[in-house]
Subunit: 354 residues, 2 copies
């Protein structure tokens, strides 16, 4: 079967033939339909994040997938069921309490591998296998865009954790800004719309006309150009934000997100920047966070519950959103063009049925 | 009656004679027994925090008080009941939703005044009045140390908010460090002991022999000298911390507290530093907070519920703690010595019965 891989010698994604996986007890064989490409894939390819499976000369890429059950084996899943696989799996040393408690997303480094990212082959192949507990059923209507459930689930978790941080008091958030108008940022925006935030903003640095700005405005949200408006000016130019969702991976946004917050607000961090040293008025940041009861919450990955919430949110999101978000659909043999397109446009996806 | 004040012309605390307050409907007259001195008082005196009541040439100091009801007026409180007053009151513009919902501690600037700190006279006088809703009953046994309920309530709130930030997943914290071995830090340590954290640490920069180190070790906690061990070394030299409670007001601790955290940990900020610019690897801070699901939570002030929790925690704390913590008891006319002692020792208190 065809699989899209990088090798230890060559970081260029390429299609190779590998053996079709066989299912063990408790496992399901999934025929993969589509696999999205995102920033993490680019980081993995560049060698900045994650790592190869042990003793393997190649790694199958891909962690955002939708597929259909080919063989449910001895599980409750039956052939033809549309599914989205989760990303984290137990490490070679075996399962642990995080997996047993259904929260592998909270496992620290060393207690998990990530398919297509860190230590395990990904989903960008004609077939994959997975224990049924790691497969989230989705409706047939998710065939073309179900791969968006995984990235959206990461935003769902980050926002859930951010909101939990405000659960010790009565909090009625109305305003939110997403930092970043890439696919993760736009998915986070769709989720905040679904949750009913009344006034939404999205920060980017693109010139009009631009499809991401069109999406932002079609949601009724306000586009903020970061080249004109800094995060510390946001409160005065627009309004203070109850929630900030950082989805840029820009190092300064980690601390500067607090500058955009209203009293009692919270910023959720999703991006994964590299080391970057800069000057900061940490005294004022600290003082303001205390005097304004503000919080900053980092979040990575997601568990099955977040996938399920993401599924509900996508069901509630107008169909034009997916049509505008997915800017490129490529067959596996056009993998080079797909990765190139993903950098230049909003969202590229590999379609294994093409 | 006697009151300890600062004037707009003279920042030296002094005793003056002012009129005894009279009670309106819903209010209670409290005979003040003891009022503690803390870092905020020093900041107020130095003009770095808070401000005078409008149209007043002086401000009565003090926000950590214990007293006894002298006249319950038409309220449910009766003469002889021991009480601790809260600090925030509605502003001159009138009450607002934060007070109506019982969470004045979450009110943003402008929607509250703070007795003895910002815009309102404090408790450091022979008598004070307060609406009964702002008076927390305490047992008679709290006569000598009930003034500690207020500072402890601030730590209670910060830790409650920090723990709430971890409520979206199963979290079983065991290790905690308090940054700062001043009275607020030691009270926070007492609260963490009461809550059952199994391994406690406290960071300071004092040489032995030292009474604060004695308290830390008598609690079974480990004293960490910040001159020998930095926050980023803490995890390797001792162990990573599930919870960090910052009570130093040192600007760098705002962001560096995260360096001491275990995966899924949270740091609560309580200190109020001034502006301070320094270099920081914000990229790594951001990245680590995301990949380790960590949080940073600022917290100020407290509401009646936190006072009540603080009351329970103090009841559960061995009596030697208070005896060792309160290093100086002064009559009002020795106010200068009291403020001087508070800087040099652990905790000074004014006793209006002396």
């Amino acid at each position: 079967m065809k699989a899209v891989v990088v090798t230890r010698d060559d970081p260029t994604p390429q299609v190779i033939e590998i053996g079709k996986p066989s299912v063990s007890s408790g496992e399901v064989l999934v025929r993969v339909l589509r696999v999205g490409i995102d920033g993490t894939d680019h980081e993995v390819i560049a060698g900045n994040h994650g790592g190869f499976p042990a003793q393997s000369e190649h790694m199958v890429l891909g962690h955002e997938a939708v597929g259909v059950v080919e063989d449910g084996g001895d599980t409750d899943l039956t052939s033809g069921q549309m599914v989205v696989p989760t990303v984290r799996r137990p490490p070679a040393s075996g399962s642990n309490e995080y997996f047993k408690q259904g929260q592998p997303d909270m496992a620290p480094a060393g207690l998990y591998v990530e398919r297509g990212i860190d230590g395990a082959h990904g989903h960008m192949a004609e077939f994959v296998t997975a224990p049924s507990e790691f497969l989230v059923p989705v409706p047939d209507s998710f065939r073309e865009f179900g791969f968006l459930v995984e990235p959206l689930s990461n935003a769902v978790k980050a926002i859930e954790h951010a909101e939990a941080s405000r659960s010790a008091f009565r909090w009625a958030p109305e305003t939110a800004i997403v930092l970043g108008n890439g696919p993760l940022g736009l998915l986070a925006l769709a989720f905040l719309r679904h949750k009913g935030y009344s006034r939404l903003y999205c920060l980017g640095r693109r010139d009009r006309p631009d499809q991401s700005i069109d999406i932002i405005e079609r949601f009724g949200a306000t586009y903020v150009d970061s080249r004109e408006t800094s995060l510390s000016d946001l409160a005065t130019i627009h309004e203070p934000m109850d929630l900030v969702v950082e989805a840029t991976g820009y190092a300064r946004h980690g601390v500067e997100s607090v500058r955009a917050l209203a009293p009692n607000g919270v910023a959720a961090l999703l991006g994964i920047p590299s080391a970057s040293t800069f000057k900061l008025d940490g005294g004022t940041l600290h003082r303001e966070m205390v005097l304004k009861n503000q919080a900053l919450v980092g979040s990575v990955n997601s568990h099955v519950g977040h996938f399920e919430t993401a599924r509900e949110a996508l069901t509630d999101t107008p169909s034009w959103f997916v049509d505008q978000l997915v800017t490129g659909v490529f067959p596996p043999h056009e993998i080079e063009a797909a990765f190139e397109s993903d950098r230049q446009n909003i969202k590229a996806v590999i379609n294994f049925e093409m």
